[in-house]
Amino acid sequence: MALIDTINPLLTTGWSKGDAGWSLKDYEARGGYAQLKRILASKMPQDDLIAEVKKSSLRGRGGAGFPTGLKWSFMPKAAPEKYVVCNTDEGEPGTFKDRDLLRFDPHSTIEGMIIAGYAVGAKRGYNYIHGEIFDIYQRFEEALDQARAAGYLGDNILGSGFSFDLFAHHGWGAYICGEETGLLESIEGKKGQPRYKPPFPANFGLYGKPTTINNTETFAAIPFILGMGGEAYLNLGKPNNGGTKLFSVSGHVNRPGNYEVPMGTPFAKLLEMAGGMRGGRKLKAVIPGGSSAPVLPADIIMDCTMDYDSIAKAGSMLGSGAVIVMDETVCMVKALERLAYFYFEESCGQCTPCREGSGWLYRVVHRIEHGEGRADDLDLLNRVTDNMMGKTICALADAAAFPVRSFIKHFQSEFEYHIEHKKCLVDPAVQRAGSGFFKAGAA
């Protein structure tokens, strides 16, 4: 499996040595912590720093794509106690870029967080790392020790008078803890359940204090942006979609893995980088932004470029950049059943529509897949998703609804075939052949 293959390596520059290049000295050798030193030495005004980030048009890499500089500027100046929190919960199925960022280059995230702390006036930060990657969490702890020993963390960093400390916190694997307010609740030791907003974290965040919370990739990009300048970073991508983006390509490609490409790279190019379709099969569909993004059929995605605006125009979301590629051996009903089950399991149970609706969706898709579908089931699914969407505290209900609606919208005939004939349109033998668990032709 190729982990690294980029056009313009930026965030992934340090990945080339694999597990041998993550430590502080390697990072410093690559020019790491230079931006922090520069900012501290020049006592760069906070507003200038935020302006530079705004200029880069960096948008949140966690999935929602909110402009990072704007988010930072929401932090109240006067508040005495503020926090910076990094979201490495990365629970979206198909996403594994943050894992590798912390594995191969944890210090870029650390430096990004320290700079963010400086920009928003926070003295403490937390990185919330999901529990399934415990070894990565341990590596991050080690990296923190290195940074602390080198004087990049703690009181009076590099004699600048600025103090900031950073802590790692690992979760236990709940998808909902990737929702930023659910994550804050979890850090506080409570059950991970999203909070009603407003108030937003910038006013009422961790322990009720103003908090800036960003994705790992967002923080990791900060040192690079400041190194090359906001304008230059923006120009790597396209207007309103600045910089490069990491895509976690999975599914039926020859070389699944993380690929860093400039925003606006054609999907076809990304697919080519990932080695093209496995076994030379035909592309059927792609989920372009993690499991909660609406699926796009082959003909639509092949015309898209990989950036927020293009994917949104096509009716989906760039999301976290998890590109799930499905070939012609996939039964879309079965694929949807799997997704519906995930959201049924991961709903936090707080809001009625999501708690009750996610189970309802799963059960109906399950019965269609198992030959017990009814003629009006597709109408029922559309009605239930309609009743769920936009009626809950967080976006999990929408995340559960989008796949259902998009699968039905783009592959309605396949669902209808399933209901009518009580079996898959795609021959089970073909499905098995396409599965990674069986050798091709063994069925």
């Binding site: 009603y196 049924f344 709903s347 149970g349 809001c351 009625t352 529509p353 609706g357 009743n387 936009g390």
Partner: protein, 776 residues
Amino acid sequence: MVEIEIDGKTLQVADGSTIIEAAHQLGVYIPHFCYHKKLSIAANCRMCLVQVEKAPKPMPACATPVTNGMKVFTHSELAVKAQKAVMEFLLINHPLDCPICDQGGECQLQDLAVGYGESASKYEEEKRVVPDKNLGPLVSTDMTRCINCTRCIRFTAEIAGFMELGQAFRGEHAEVMPFIGKTVDTELSGNLIDLCPVGALTSKPFRFSARTWELSRRKSVSPHDGLGSNLIVQTKHDRVIRVLPLENEDINECWLTDKERFSYQGLNSAERLTRPMVKQGGAWKEVDWNVALDYASHALRDVAKTHGGGAIGGLLSPHSTLEELYLAQKLLRGLGSENIDCRLRQSDFSADGKRKGTPWLGMKIADVSRLDRVLLVGSFLRKDQPLLAQRLRQSAKRGAQISVLHSADDDLLIKLTARAIASPSQLPAVLAQIVKAVCALKGVTADPALAGLTVSAEAQAIAQSLASGGTSGILLGNFAQQHAQAATLHSLGRQLASALGGGFGFLGEAANSVGGYVAKAVPTGAGLNAAAMIQSPRQAYVVLGAEPELDCADGAKALESLSKAAAVVVLTPFKSQTMLDYAAVLLPVSPFSETSGTFVNTEGRVQSFYAAAKPLGETRPAWKVLRVLGNLLGVTGFDFNSSEEVRTEALGGQPEFVSGLDNAIDSGALNLTASATGFERVADVPIHFADPLVRRAPALQQARDSAAPAARMNASMLAKLGLVEGGSVRVGGAAAVTLAAQLDTALPDGVVRVAAAHSATVALGAMAGVVSVEKA
């Protein structure tokens, strides 16, 4: 103020209001489940979704703050579609077992399903089943009905003060449950039943006994603690089978303590006395009323004639109505006795004659919530006045500083700013230190008697908190009022309050602790107080509504004196073996539910009520019994035709608040010398043993708060005596009792805590004082 429009009607609402509050102001109902005005906003049920102009999605009315010019549509197509969608989701996994659900007929889900539900569901899958939980003897669970609104969870965390319930698991598997193996033990647990919008949490004692529409209901007033919580008493076939809170923001808000809610079971106790009884030749006989009244009046007249009126003593329960207390004292005074008292658990009466008026809370109950600095002196507040504890809990959350001076550091579930824990004999000295420190901080001249005191760090911390600004209140609890130097604590408390320029008051122990003074049910002149008439045995006693062995400061001595008396006339709703031993006549009188009457609560508020049920058997309202006794004994001024006439005479009119409330006292010289060698007893009155009614409520008696008394000591005291927890310990007072030793880290050195008001500890005698403690 901002101006908004709801369903086309414009109105002005306060900044920061939510849409649901604004709608309420306008009288527009927005359906909801998780929202409750006294709890934090959860916004999880999603039933209150409404349309807001310019918002792309429906918004939860409970959580959306109003903004100027906002236009809200609660019944638009979008809003109703959202509300109906949520209702469908709520019902798909609900068992719809209304025919066998206790909540049927008073169920928010049932009611709203009529308006927003469909007649049939498209959900044809298997429904969720959730295992029931054991929350203790009071709250029954049917968790399959739960809609996860989390009101119960928020109640325990926010109102009761400790998160005894939580939601475990995720999504459809989410379950509300207590900690594993634990029950819900808050003294406010019954409110969960009211809060639950479905039939998941219902009343265990009431379970399956009636439908709401079969019940008659009457407003009433709680006969227990000094707050006088407002009640709705519900009856079926003239039996009280349920008590609910009647909302009164000035007193109990929308809450009730478990004691107030479930004590009604005692009304139906097998120990109810239903026929008059007299003892003849050592044998008890049930007799007609005229025989019993004749017997009682003769007995009292004989003693009065032979020994003088002073040979009669009247021990009156402070849980009696104002009318009963008034007539009882009038009867006794008519017989020539001044020995009348309703302050049965008090032991220091030296304030009598020095007091300027009736001791009271010193402020309105609602004002307690507005205090910024509070010192609680000698109070088991959470068990003695749970709803005042609740108010202070909320105050502490908004930043009020609460401090405690007490002999036990019980967890009040209130964030305390400072505390001083000392043995009972040391309390006056520590309070004096606080006074001295506050005087110094405020630049006020202190009482010269305090000159020699050294201020401890704890006292200084309390003083600093009190003197740090805002309105202050010094509140003396039941323990301080029962203290052997209660008058000294009273004087010092007053001095402290005046140095601070703040409030000062007493937390009323019983429903008529204030009313007793108003009804003149206290001795005047040379009359004997409750303790004195027990210490100097009388020839005859009139006991009204009390069980002196459990309700007096020295139960053992009380029992001894009653047993020696020639005639004891008891007016009581209950009989007990002890009563049969000492009494000569038992007159069955109505408990609060079967008589009209009045309680004057701790803030001096006059609250009258009617009978909720017919008197049981031949029971009669005590005011009628006393009136007839007065006539039989030829006492003048006993021509009352109604309890209202009695009340008017007692109060001199029909005021909302009684007059003559005044906590001022001529203190004289302060006595701060403390002498106690050996173990001092700290006696609390356990919440479910405080009065004859609650002692007979079976479900409450199974609650954790009703555990048998133990000899509680801190670790060093246990070690000193070579005791281990659970081991036997002999505590010796008037007589010795053997109890289990129990570790109580909340106690200071030199103290053993043994609960009063319990048959197991009666023999110990006085609640306050020194006892011997040894390994048994």
